[in-house]
């Protein structure tokens, strides 16, 4: 069965900052398709534009250019009531369990809000849905009468998930939903998310910088570097061996719980360049160990290599499609 | 550097808008200076016809018979040429008047600022370091009370105690009338140096102490509060912990790490506070017959002398703007984080 695209991004671009001199190009002409029912893991270093891409996809941050299509319909500039109800199909789970819940409202009100505003539920109808949801995320319905400060980080994250799920969205952006949590709690939340994805047939953009987490939840992996997607691959393919030198370095840098820690590490020199002033040519060339002259001048395109993965590199580590 | 230029480039724009606002506000004041002038001059012998004629003549001479728009046009034109017009009463050149009074006000407000900052810093730091003790409570209480003291009350109190009862300090003016002073820059301290007249300094200071302290006291209370809060905030910052980790003594931590960083919020507040200082100088200068712009402004308002009110208001606003630009630059100098661009 051919997967149906749910979200399609075309040349999506987000820029920040006022005057021309210092514009941060956080997301640079990203083309990306997210298919119905899949979980796409988005990884990359801090500041590479993951959150911005995620936010722009659901238009909490307005894109500066490009198109967003949801089930084929262009929602890039959609406004008014239609947009509000459409957008309720697109929800977000946030990273910070403390900043993402209004400290002055009751849990039930927080979770009911999208039902009342976007789905036109009556208060009593909403109440039922909320109770069910709170049960589902493992908090219990009596949690509805309490306020956020009475909950721990992991519990708050469950509330955030309940709120995101309240309007029965088809698509959820989860922006580092577990990175603020302790390992033991992190595992609980990851499990909860996996269950919900499975039970509700959710489509998800799962943002994380932790490859381990992504590995356990995503179906496909997209790697971002300096505002661009540089590699997209099926999960197992990616972990078996990334096609982009950056992906390779990333994977090898993760400290592992193994007897022999001295496995080969690819040490990247330097750090992520200034997003306001990206290097010419391939943006990764300043840190790449395979760099050749071409990389310094010519920006590579996102090309399809074997296994249907896409990579933005002049010299991918996996042979190009058809060149085998 | 670019930020500096940007700040400076904004000044003319601010000034233009300021002048427009002043122009508009002044025209809202009730009463016309012309009738006042005509009436003032008229002895009991003048007839009604004389006054009507005089009023019209004066209006024409002052340009008040023209449309508001053309008045505005010539007003802007004049401002560009640094010509602020002349007083309705006798045609004193306003630019000249400001030249006479602005330095006095600058001396007063800067002196007040210095006193306030010295007192405020000292007490604020003390209160922060002794947080929660009676020293803290006392300092904060006194600070709040002095911050709430109205200038006029303080000024009058100072005059009664130090001028009349103790007779330590003179109560009016800027320099003794008996003294020959031929201003060069009209900043007494500067002139004392340029003209080699050290004997000017003490009488000048003597006259400055009361009005400046009056102005300073209420502000010092405010600064105490800000300094205390700011120092407490910085004391809680991680880099102070780093400094302690280095084994630095508390006084070295205070000097090298806390003071500079806690001065950042203080500096911004100072800029704004300078405004209230200028507002306070309007009252203080009246109480002390101190020859500054505030005094000029009050006279102008009472006499409906538009050009003077206009000029004085502009000068005050200009001074305030420049001080704030200066404060911004100081902020840039103090906080390297802003210099990134």
């Amino acid at each position: 069965m051919k997967p149906t695209p749910l979200i399609e991004l075309e040349k999506l671009r987000v820029e920040f900052g006022g005057s021309a001199g210092r514009r941060v190009r956080a997301v640079r002409d990203v083309d990306l398709t997210i298919y119905e029912g899949e979980t796409l893991g988005l990884v990359g270093e801090s500041g590479c534009g993951k959150s911005t891409l995620g936010r722009a996809t659901v238009r909490v941050t307005e894109p500066t250019g490009g198109r967003i299509r949801y089930r084929g319909a262009d929602i890039t500039t959609m406004r008014g009531t239609l947009f509000r109800s459409t957008r309720a199909d697109l929800q977000m789970v946030f990273q910070d369990p403390f900043g993402s819940l209004n400290p002055r409202r009751k849990i039930a009100d927080i979770v009911a809000e999208p039902l009342l505003r976007a789905r036109g539920f009556s208060a009593s109808a909403a109440r039922e849905v909320v109770d069910d949801l709170l049960d589902q995320v493992g908090l219990g319905r009596e949690a509805g009468g309490r306020r956020p400060h009475e909950f721990s980080g992991g519990q708050r994250q469950r509330i955030g998930i309940a709120r995101a799920l309240a309007p029965s969205p088809r698509f959820v952006v989860a922006d580092e939903p577990v990175s603020a949590l302790d390992v033991s709690i992190q595992a609980q939340v990851i499990n909860l998310l996996s269950d919900l994805i499975r039970d509700r047939g959710l489509t998800m953009l799962f943002i994380s910088h932790d490859l381990g987490v992504v590995k356990h939840i995503a179906d496909r992996i997209a790697v971002m570097y300096l505002g661009e997607i540089i590699e997209i691959a099926a999960r197992d393919d990616f972990f078996a061996g990334p096609a982009h030198p950056y992906g390779e370095a990333l994977l090898s840098s993760v400290p592992t719980l193994s007897f022999s820690p001295s496995r080969e590490r690819i040490e990247l020199s330097g750090e992520l360049p200034d997003p306001a002033d990206p290097p010419p040519g391939c943006t990764f060339h300043t840190r790449c160990r395979y760099v050749v002259d071409k990389c310094r001048t010519e920006a590579p395109l996102l090309r399809t290599v074997a296994d249907g993965r896409q990579v933005r590199c002049h010299l991918p580590l996996i042979p190009l499609k058809g060149s085998e | 550097m670019r930020l500096v230029l940007k700040r400076l480039a904004a000044v003319p724009v601010v000034l233009l808008v300021l002048s427009t606002m002043v122009f508009a506000a002044i025209r809202l004041l009730p009463g016309s200076p012309a009738t006042g002038l005509a009436a003032g001059g008229a002895s009991g012998q003048a007839t009604a016809a004389d006054i009507t004629a005089d009023t019209e003549k004066i209006n024409a001479a002052l340009g008040l018979d023209k449309s508001l728009l053309s008045q505005y046009g010539s007003f802007l034109n004049d401002i560009v040429h640094l010509d602020l017009g002349s007083s309705f009463y006798g045609g004193n050149d306003i630019t000249g008047l400001l030249g006479d009074t602005l330095p006095a006000t600058i001396e007063l407000t800067v002196a007040a600022m210095l006193i306030a900052v010295l007192i405020g810093m000292f007490t604020g730091v003390l209160a922060a370091l002794r947080r929660g003790t009676w020293i803290d409570t006392a300092t904060r209480t006194i600070g709040t009370v002095s911050f709430s003291l109205p200038w006029f009350a303080l000024g009058v109190l100072g005059i009664v105690v130090f001028g009349v009862w103790l007779r330590w300090l003179p109560v009016i003016g800027r320099l003794p009338n008996a003294l020959d002073y031929h201003p060069l820059t009209n900043f007494v301290l500067l002139d004392a140096i340029l003209q080699d007249r050290p004997e000017l300094i003490w009488p000048w200071l003597e006259h400055l102490i009361l009005p400046a302290t009056t102005l300073a006291l209420s502000m010092a209370g405010f600064i105490t509060r800000i300094v205390r809060a700011s120092v407490l905030e910085v004391l809680g910052d991680d880099f102070v912990r780093t400094a302690r980790m280095k084994g630095l003594s508390p006084s070295a931590i205070l000097r090298r790490h806390v003071l500079r960083n806690s001065s950042l919020p203080i500096v911004t507040v100072l800029g704004l506070q300078f405004g209230s200082l200028l507002g306070g100088s309007v009252i203080t200068e009246t109480v002390f017959s101190y020859p500054g712009v505030g005094n000029l402004l009050v006279n102008g308002i009472l006499q409906r002398d538009y050009p003077i009110v206009q000029g004085a208001a502009l000068a005050i606003a200009l001074l305030f703007t420049l001080v704030n630009v200066f404060v911004d630059l100081l902020y840039l100098a103090l906080d390297p984080r802003l210099r990134k661009a």
């Binding site: - | 009730p30 009463g31 016309s32 200076p33 012309a34 009738t35 006042g36 002038l37 005509a38 009436a39 003032g40 001059g41 008229a42 002895s43 009991g44 012998q45 003048a46 007839t47 009604a48 016809a49 004389d50 006054i51 005089d54 009023t55 003549k57 004066i58 001479a61 002052l62 007083s87 009463y89 006798g90 045609g91 004193n92 008047l97 006479d100 009074t101 009058v156 005059i159 009664v160 001028g163 009349v164 007779r167 003179p170 109560v171 009016i172 003016g173 009338n177 008996a178 009246t286 109480v287 002390f288 017959s289 020859p291 005094n295 009050v298 006279n299 308002i301 009472l302 006499q303 409906r304």
Partner: protein, 510 residues
């Protein structure tokens, strides 16, 4: 302390040196006899320039000054002045008739080139009555009038009649106010608007160099600061002392309080166009508790206006007019009731400075007590003036104001107050709109020229009584003084003049 009985300008004038500082109401740094800005500036003019005649306020008669002597023709129309010789101006030029012509012409001719814009010419009235003014020689000036004017000599002593160096007038033109040059005891040194005027003793003053070196007129606007700076010694003397401080100052040895003549009128103007009923106006006049005003607004520095508008220090003062300012609340109530005016609203306007607001509150109470409803409005002096003179002003029915006698003659008081075409008769009270008012112009002119003092006084009293009885546009409140106070060290100061806002400091020492 209180001034000793005999502490006058008559004492010996030994040079003491030093600086004498007078507190003034304000200065625009323009000292020009043809341009009024503030009382303070004209005090400076008083010191810098002197006129043909001089009134010391010790007596009420004009005395010789720059005119050594004069003769008046029998028809009272030609005045021949012999000028004093050997007098020099501050700029070194010698005083001649040319200076007199140049200076007086600025008053008489509104086209004079040396007049600044917005100038006021206090002697304009003399100019209107003038056929010619000529100088047959350097030491003689001849003025020929159209109609006789007995007050001419007195009015020439006024500020407007001050003689300026012609050379300086030629040099500075309309800017003379910033560079005034006269023959007076003090020469102009410097002035800053809103602050002070500094004058220096003139070596060549024809009556001898004044004892002090320097005279500073310093603007002090805050009343409590005036008191404080008198006590602290920052101010040597002033006539702007707040009344309320007098008792205290009298008890303080560091200052001297003078018993200044009660020379100015405090009164209540009634706009007859708004309060049309004569009986209501009379009732208002009867309602006022003047004794309360004297004690509570003037703190004793005032007397009952027994001479109606003529203050007690003037020749035409006639105490038999006391009944014009009597207080009879019962009668006032009756009049109001009879006029059907009970409960009527009257608006009372006063300036917000000095004694005015206090008087307004006291009077408001009096008027309330007779059944009127009073709305009081205290406004700053500039607004006050504007409203006063604006013919379509809707703010006031009753206005509290004052008139100083700048030279001591009844014509300057009742003459200007009752004249229908004057400011008081026209703008302020609307007297000119009433039947029969026109006659008062002639009556007052005729009265002022009666040569015999007793007859003149009687005529003025008649006019006053009739004016009050028939029209009652002006209710006298009190005759008050400008209380002069000086530091104890100040001696031989002409405080009587200062009490009339005139400044003769040539004998004073510190």
């Amino acid at each position: 302390g209180v001034a000793a009985e005999k502490d006058d300008a008559s004492g010996g004038t030994t040079r003491s040196g030093g600086t004498l500082t007078l507190a003034i109401d304000g200065t625009s740094a323009i000292n020009d006899p043809a341009f009024y800005t503030t009382l303070g500036d004209w005090m400076a003019v008083d010191c810098i320039c002197r006129g043909l005649t001089f009134i010391s306020f010790e007596t009420n008669e004009p005395a010789a000054d720059l005119a050594e002597s004069w003769t008046v023709s029998d028809d009272q129309l030609t005045y021949t002045f012999k000028l004093r010789q050997g007098v020099t101006f501050h700029d070194g030029t010698t005083f001649t008739s040319a200076d007199v012509l140049a200076s007086l012409n600025r008053q008489f001719d509104d086209k004079d080139k040396t007049l600044p814009e917005g100038s006021s010419r206090p002697l304009k009235g003399i100019g209107d009555n003038l056929t010619s003014i000529t100088a047959p020689d350097a030491n003689t000036v001849v003025m020929v009038l159209k109609k006789p004017d007995r007050t001419l000599l007195g009015r020439l002593s006024d500020i407007g009649g001050r003689i300026i160096s012609k050379a300086a007038l030629t040099k500075y033109g309309a800017d003379i106010g910033k560079n005034l040059v006269g023959t007076g005891p003090f020469k102009f040194a410097s002035a800053t608007s809103g602050q002070s005027v500094t004058l220096e003793a003139f070596d060549g003053f024809h009556k001898g160099k004044p004892p002090i070196d320097r005279l500073v007129l310093q603007q002090v606007t805050d009343p409590s600061t005036i008191v404080s700076s008198l006590l602290s010694g920052d101010i040597s003397a002033t006539q702007f002392t707040p009344y309320s401080a007098l008792d205290q100052l009298k008890g303080d040895k560091s200052v001297t309080v003078y018993d200044t003549p009660k020379s100015f009128d405090a009164f209540l103007m009634m706009d007859v166009r708004r309060i049309t009923d004569l009986n209501v106006r009379k009732a208002i006049n009867l309602a006022i508790d003047r004794q309360a005003l004297i004690t509570q607004a003037f703190f004793g520095a005032a007397v009952l206006p027994d001479g109606y508008t003529i203050p007690p220090n003037q020749d035409a003062y006639d105490a038999t007019l006391a009944d014009l300012s009597k207080t009879d609340v019962a009668e006032a109530k009756r009049l109001i009731a009879a006029a059907g005016a009970t409960g009527r609203t009257v608006r009372l306007m006063a300036a917000s400075d000095s004694w005015h607001p206090k008087a307004a509150q006291l009077i408001a109470q009096n008027l309330t007590d007779i059944g009127l409803k009073v709305e009081t409005d205290s406004v700053d002096p500039a607004t006050y003036f504007n409203r006063l003179l604006s013919p379509d002003d809707k703010f006031h029915d009753l206005m509290i104001w004052e008139r100083n006698g700048y030279y001591p003659d009844a014509d300057d008081m009742i003459g200007s107050l009752a004249k229908p075409s004057g400011v008081y008769g026209d703008f302020i009270s609307g007297f000119t709109t009433l039947d029969g008012s026109a006659a008062y112009a002639d009556m007052l002119f005729e009265a002022k020229n009666i040569a015999d003092a007793t007859a003149r006084k009687a005529r003025y009293s008649e006019i006053a009584r009739e004016w009050a009885d028939k029209y009652m546009t002006l209710s006298m409140l009190v005759c008050a003084s400008n209380p002069v106070v000086s530091g104890a060290k100040v001696k031989n100061m002409n405080w009587k003049a200062l009490g009339n806002h005139r400044c003769y400091m040539e004998t004073a020492s510190v």
